[in-house]
């Protein structure tokens, strides 16, 4: 023990070992590996430019915002498969009143956030009250929410499944630049992502609520006996997850000028993937927000980077899968290395 600690300060390898004990280091290493790969393969075709960087960061940011909430929920031992459908629903909930009913933008946003909070509350209460796995409850939510969104939009618009004309309806609103503007060549979503990652990290690591989240996921019975309000923590996290999807929907609708009912499919799956790449355990009780951020970054770089390489579209999905698998393997390699060292 003394020998280990002794060379900790001097030997470069030991520094790596100490770093390796941080759970975030593994997705960071994965992200660096993925970046190096694309920098070498597609460095000459724009991947390394500011535009190229903004390109994958925007995709990573939109996924990353959802991944933060999904990670907290997974640490607490639950899944929310309805976030993708929530994203589609929230976009329409916000866009329809603004475009068709002439509401001001803030009112449309408030309306969709209220609707989302309600969905999160229902998800949470259903999981707690029925004691069914959240995987099943929110899987039902995935279908119900998507179906209701399609049917509702189809009916109220008299046949369409999308709401366009956002740009005209919201021109000049200061909320637009806050949510879909640009700063330093980067879209607003990136700053929302970084800010929320910071806030959530602090909450998770430094506050009582953060301890509760880990406790609820690690050992709910023990947590309950220690007086942790398990139900309240979980319901809160379900609400936060729905709200995160709504924030991304709002940003997306404003940035892209239209809401349509198909948006967000498979986002639930991508967010869980990003969380797992980021080191979150599927079994709950373990994970970090910074890890989740790098998980989303890896996903964003892989899914966009391929298009800078000019690879054949037929190979896209195979390539995406292979890159993700490699990222997870790199993660595990570092995790094992770290464990062996300690």
């Amino acid at each position: 023990m003394t020998a280990e600690e002794d060379d900790a300060g001097h030997h470069p390898l030991a520094l790596l070992r100490r770093l390796g004990r941080r759970p975030e280091i593994t997705p960071v290493a994965g992200a660096v590996a993925v970046w190096l790969f694309f920098a070498s393969v597609a460095g000459g075709t724009g991947f390394l430019t500011t535009q190229g960087t903004a390109n994958y960061l925007e995709v990573a940011a939109q996924l990353g915002i959802i991944t933060i909430a999904v990670t907290l929920l997974m640490i607490a031992g639950e899944f929310d498969l309805s976030v993708g459908s929530m994203l589609g629903a929230a976009g329409v909930l916000m866009a329809y009143p603004v475009v068709e009913l002439g509401w001001p933008l803030w009112a449309g946003i408030a309306f969709s956030f209220t609707g989302a909070a309600l969905v999160g509350l229902i998800n949470g209460l259903l999981v707690i009250r029925t004691a069914l796995p959240s995987f099943i409850v929110t899987l039902a939510g995935l279908f119900i929410l998507r179906g209701v969104t399609i049917a509702f939009t189809h009916d109220v618009t008299g046949g369409a499944t999308q709401v366009g004309g956002i740009d005209e309806a919201t021109a000049g609103s200061p909320l637009r630049s806050l949510l879909a503007g640009e700063l330093l060549g980067l879209p607003a979503a990136v700053f929302w992502w970084l800010g929320l990652t910071l806030v959530a990290s602090v909450v998770l690591a430094k506050t009582r609520f953060g301890n509760w989240v880990y406790g609820v996921g690690g050992d709910p019975d023990a947590a309950s006996k220690l007086g942790v309000p398990v139900a309240r923590v979980k319901v809160t996290l379900f609400i936060l997850t729905a709200l995160s999807a709504t924030l991304v929907a709002t940003i997306g609708v404003l940035a892209n000028g239209a809401a349509d009912v198909q948006q967000g499919q498979l986002k639930e799956f991508q967010a869980i993937t990003a969380a797992v790449i980021g080191g979150t355990l599927l079994t709950g009780g373990y994970g970090t927000v910074v890890g989740a951020a790098f998980g989303a970054l890896i996903f964003g770089m892989v899914s966009q980077g391929i298009f800078f390489t000019g690879a054949d579209a037929d190979w896209f999905q195979a390539f995406l899968g292979a890159m993700l698998l490699s990222a997870v393997l790199v993660n595990r390699y570092f995790t094992r290395h770290a464990q062996a060292a300690s």
């Binding site: 075709t45 724009g46 430019t49 535009q51 190229g52 390109n55 994958y56 925007e58 995709v59 939109q62 993708g84 998507r146 179906g147 969104t149 399609i150 939009t153 189809h154 618009t157 008299g158 046949g159 369409a160 499944t161 999308q162 366009g164 004309g165 997306g252 940035a255 892209n256 000028g257 239209a258 349509d260 009912v261 198909q262 948006q263 967000g264 499919q265 498979l266 986002k267 899914s303 966009q304 298009f307 800078f308 000019g310 054949d312 579209a313 037929d314 896209f316 999905q317």
Partner: protein
């Protein structure tokens, strides 16, 4: 009025290209009154997809106009196995007419032939032109997808486009792949990059197009879907500062696409008029049931073109899911 004209056209075409030897069996006249006629759709496509929604609206309008009973069934995912189950369920119910889209002929030809063999009058619509002969279906209502890509490519070429990206939201689907092949035929072998686009994430779609533009290898884009592909593509061109250098065109319409055409950001929108793929089969099958009129083997519904000149007048109809 329009219906009468259509019926007349249908009758004339049937006479013109009818194959008398085949007009036995399933095309025999029946004397059922219209409200007893039950027509089913077994379609691919996801509920809420803007393209298929127009077809669905066409079918609903025809149900009203013809006074028959139409049931529109579509897959919950873009899943052809699920569509096979829809067709099998239809065979069991034995409707007076069945309308099927064949985006995947390999999977669907068999079940469609089973429906034909079971004595159900079948019309293939929206996709699957080549399957009419293979399955013995009565006819096809839709467009020739290769020709759509070819004609779009020729127009792009006329604008000086040398190398284009084919923005394909469902790589591996024969009808969409045919459009890219047609485009390549027009521009010359090796001058088309096929790019896979994710329709369910507009940010990702837009940024993929940006990545392609940044590589600087193409001067033209052909979007294979309107709202979910062409709209992000137009945004990508603008945000990349390449408006005017890169020519963009699309297949299919949406309100956003039409505004872009009106404003000159899109060269044209190739229009399949897929409302007809929902509407006409109901008309044709009703007439077939009522009077034994054999539907024409091929009813081309497109491509027609929306350009700067006529875009404005189509926007309102597109908002309502008719165009």
């Amino acid at each position: 009025m329009a219906v009468t004209a259509l019926a007349l056209a249908a009758a004339l075409t049937a006479v013109a290209c009818g194959d008398e030897d085949e007009t036995t069996g399933q095309t025999g006249a029946k004397s059922s009154s219209r409200d007893a006629i039950h027509i089913e759709f077994a379609f691919a496509g996801v509920p809420g997809d803007p393209y298929y929604t127009v077809i669905k609206n066409g079918a609903a309008q025809a149900e009203k106009d013809m006074g028959v009973d139409v049931e529109y069934k579509e897959t919950s995912q873009y899943d052809f196995q699920e569509q096979v189950r829809l067709i099998k369920a239809a065979i069991a119910r034995k409707p007076d007419g069945l309308v099927v889209s064949e985006e995947s002929p390999e999977v669907l030809d068999g079940p469609v032939k089973d429906a034909v063999d079971a004595g159900i009058p079948v019309i293939i619509a929206a996709a699957g032109e080549d399957s009419v002969e293979k399955t013995g279906a009565l006819g096809f209502v839709g467009q020739n997808e290769f020709e759509v890509g070819l004609k779009a490519g020729q127009q792009l070429k006329g604008e000086g486009v040398k190398r284009a990206a084919c923005l394909n939201p469902a790589v591996g689907t024969p009808n969409l792949d045919s459009r890219c092949a047609g485009l390549e035929k027009a521009l010359g072998a090796g001058n088309v990059d096929v790019v896979a686009i994710d329709q369910t994430d507009r940010t990702s779609a837009k940024n993929r197009v940006k990545a392609i533009l940044q590589r600087g290898s193409v001067d033209g884009l052909l979007a294979l879907a309107a709202a979910t592909v062409a709209e992000p593509a137009v945004a990508a061109v603008e945000e990349s500062g390449q408006a005017g250098e890169v020519t963009v065109a699309t297949i299919d319409l949406s309100p956003g696409v039409l505004s872009a055409v009106r404003d000159g950001k899109l060269l044209f929108a190739s229009d399949q008029q897929q409302f007809l793929a929902g509407y006409l089969p109901v008309v044709l099958l009703t007439l077939q049931n009522q009077y034994g009129i054999r539907p024409p083997a091929f009813v081309p519904t497109g491509p027609s073109y929306v350009t700067k000149e006529n875009a404005a007048e189509v926007i309102e109809l597109s908002k309502r899911g008719i165009r």
